[in-house]
Amino acid sequence: MTTVTMTVNGKNVSADVAPNTLLVDFIRNNLRLTGTHVGCDTSQCGACTVHVDGDSIKSCTMLAVQAEGADVTTIEGLAANGDLHPMQASFKENHGLQCGFCTPGMIMSAVDLVKRHPNPSEETIRSELEGNICRCTGYHNIVKSVKAASEKMGG
């Protein structure tokens, strides 16, 4: 067992974990933050996407011990004082989800995307979301949601 300490959604957290504990399992099982989903567990679907030091990463493809000292944000950490993040609100308004399984990962990727590309074209949105798979929506309304949110986020 190794002790890991990191900041998750602004809170300092620490736990003893086996070195082969994935970050996503630490988030879901130790911290009980179950908004981060596991869709494939083979690094392809992006449902497990969280931010580590501001960058979107697949938390099923990172060890908890690799996040030692890091600043982690999960889907639960986006809303502020009960108000949805503009990206969350935009998915709701634009029907950017159906079953919702991929949505936490989509939103975490989309927030990073808009940070890196403040006024993204449809092409940029589609290529930057290549690491997130959705089985329901056909992507059109996801792209629409991200575009609308980017305008609200001051892009």
């Binding site: 190794t2 070195p19 990463i57 060890l63 990073d112 290549e130």
Partner: protein
């Protein structure tokens, strides 16, 4: 995953010293962790290189561009230094996998892994790059040996890759639509020593297309290579594409790369 121990040393020598026979170096983990999860590999201990500052960063002196082994794909793609010295390399990095993979995966990990469909090996071979390790310097052509095989010894760690700056260069890739890996990728570089054409994805290991190199050295235009084909025997055949299809893609991608580099 089988269980393993974990260490994060802060120097290359410490990392090399702590690498035992069953141990593995961990870089971005974008290949190694999926492989461990599928139990296709096992490690006594993972030695994480992320705490070693000397393995990170990009520098250039006009004639040579040097990239630390732990530099992530996103950092190569976004680097002003890479964009000005070898824009084709930044472009290649920006099309590896997806955004999340680029935020973790490193050039050292990609090169050490030598996946037959990886992008970077073509750039190293076409540009005549040198792979520097904690023990020696190896030319790219000697480094990539065969399918998933390199010249690296068990306890050898890549520290950086240095690229001579070419006159012009371009990379054209036909991505596998599901994985984004190269079904075929061709890197063309026009250097002071002649034109070099390196092909990834098509065969078990990156290779140079010497017929195209000869034709392009006397006439650097896509029409100069339009009649040159690649022998399909020995190329990869799988559910994604036959060897003949890949051989044809080599010509198509080489033509596109030459047009982009002209």
């Amino acid at each position: 995953m089988y269980s393993f121990d974990y260490e994060r040393p802060s120097g290359v020598n410490d990392a090399a010293a702590s690498l035992g026979e069953d141990d593995k170096v961990l870089a971005g983990g974008q290949t190694l962790l999926p492989t461990l999860k599928l139990r296709l590999a096992q490690a006594g201990k993972l030695v994480d290189l992320s705490g070693i500052d000397e393995l990170k960063g990009i520098s250039s002196n006009g004639s040579e561009l040097s990239i630390g082994a732990m530099t992530r794909h996103v950092d190569v793609a976004d680097s002003a230094e890479v964009r000005s010295a070898i824009p084709a390399l930044a472009d290649l990095a920006s099309h590896i996998g997806d955004a999340q993979v680029r935020n973790r995966g490193t050039i050292g990990g990609s090169v050490a892994n030598n996946d037959p469909a990886a992008d970077y090996p073509s750039a190293l071979v076409a540009l005549g790059a040198t792979v520097h390790t904690n023990k020696r310097s190896i030319s790219a052509e000697d480094f990539f040996v065969d399918l998933f095989e390199t010249a690296l010894e068990e306890d050898e760690i890549i520290t950086k890759i240095s690229f001579p700056v070419p006159e012009s260069a371009a990379y054209a890739k036909f991505p596998n639509p599901a994985s984004r890996y190269a079904l075929v990728g061709v890197f063309v570089a026009k250097t002071s020593g002649g034109v070099r054409v390196a092909v990834t994805g098509a065969g078990p290991c990156v290779f140079r297309q010497s017929d195209m190199e000869a034709a392009l050295s006397s006439d650097f235009s896509s029409s100069a290579i339009s009649g040159i084909s690649t022998d399909a025997s020995g190329l990869n055949s799988d559910i994604h594409a036959s060897a003949e299809y890949r051989a044809n893609l080599v010509s198509v991608m080489a033509g596109r790369a030459v047009d982009a580099a002209s």
